[in-house]
Symmetry: C3
Subunit: 176 residues, 3 copies
Amino acid sequence: MSGIRIGIVTVSDRASRGEYEDLGGPAIQAWFQDVVASPWQAIVRLIPDEQDAIEATLRELCDDKGCCLVVTTGGTGPALRDVTPEATRAVLDKELEGFGEQMRRASLAFVPTAILSRQTAGVRGRSLILNLPGKPKAIGECLEAVMAAVPYCIDLVGGPRMETRPERVVAFRPKA
Amino acid sequence: MSGIRIGIVTVSDRASRGEYEDLGGPAIQAWFQDVVASPWQAIVRLIPDEQDAIEATLRELCDDKGCCLVVTTGGTGPALRDVTPEATRAVLDKELEGFGEQMRRASLAFVPTAILSRQTAGVRGRSLILNLPGKPKAIGECLEAVMAAVPYCIDLVGGPRMETRPERVVAFRPKA
Amino acid sequence: MSGIRIGIVTVSDRASRGEYEDLGGPAIQAWFQDVVASPWQAIVRLIPDEQDAIEATLRELCDDKGCCLVVTTGGTGPALRDVTPEATRAVLDKELEGFGEQMRRASLAFVPTAILSRQTAGVRGRSLILNLPGKPKAIGECLEAVMAAVPYCIDLVGGPRMETRPERVVAFRPKA
């Protein structure tokens, strides 16, 4: 059986040209390996900081591959080439501002430059799309801050049931 | 005398069809009964999760009924039928992002899924419009978190003076 | 030598007509005098709450005067004449939502009406534009809350290196 699908998209000019090893994508995959209890498979992509390419990849992973969760790493800062939030907003049906607020607040406990991150999240069809930072250390900090809400969000948009290992993250589902 | 007017809009497909008792609207009314000291009357509406109907109701309560404060309950989540924030933004003159941030932060003390709420607020003419959650328990938590700023906001847009019972909520008005 | 340039824009109908002394602009200038260690000069403007005038002033200070940082004071509330955030968003290339979140959170420690502020920030070309409140006391509270991230933000968009006095604000620059 294939289980649920999680899309992992590394957005980086240098890594996509092979000038730089992609550390963000593998860090995300290892984190979910540790936390997600349901059978799942990763669908990974490595693309440059091009808005069209990011949008096309997000649409493919949500619409064609049926990923219930798609996470990106990289491209969320203020620099000219950082366009991941713009691409994400362009494909979202509904933006969920609370994710960006919560991830920035969590990162502020570590670095004051967390306010420079433009990370966001939202839903497209039956998928949740979530921007993560580029730095591997910051990826785990952000996922820890929001993961408890992810399975219920996927429930609400009609996606598959995702279970977590409760010793790592307790997925919260309000009583009806 | 009629006093000031507060619009209370329950947005719910099921409650508007009578399949479900509206608990949110009465919870809001009871909360304001306890907190607002000025003479006031509630103008209540119960409508389905339809963006056009929500927009029309918000316009009616602000423009025709002269409500200085209009609160909604329901329809702020990520699901397909949740369109209250979209309808609210469509009729606002100015969005006040701080309300949504503060209400999500307050709710996070109770449930990690608070980040899924898309609640917002803002002004239309001389009225403040404020989205609240659908669950009665969460309504009070959110109102407690923002009410101290509501009377001064209404002052700033030229609405009537609203007084609160200070043993419940101290309305803050900065010295000029 | 001229050093780096910081634009300081007071937005106020009354102060621009001379009915009221501009206290915000001088408060900002004094704050930076205390905190910025690099040689710098202030370029100051005093304009009414008119969206066109604010946009033109922000463009002039960023594009023609080469200010790496432009701060505004005033016009961020919910009132009809408050249009500084609208003007700011109209000229930004990228909005940085984390600044507004962090400044509102910092101000909430002092006044519950901090949630009424619509302050934002973002980048235009090689400049960072930052909205501050109108009240001199609140200006310092907001600058203290975000300044550690300002020099690195300017680095990221290709602006000049700004140094701070570390006994006042430690500018944070992540290791590459």
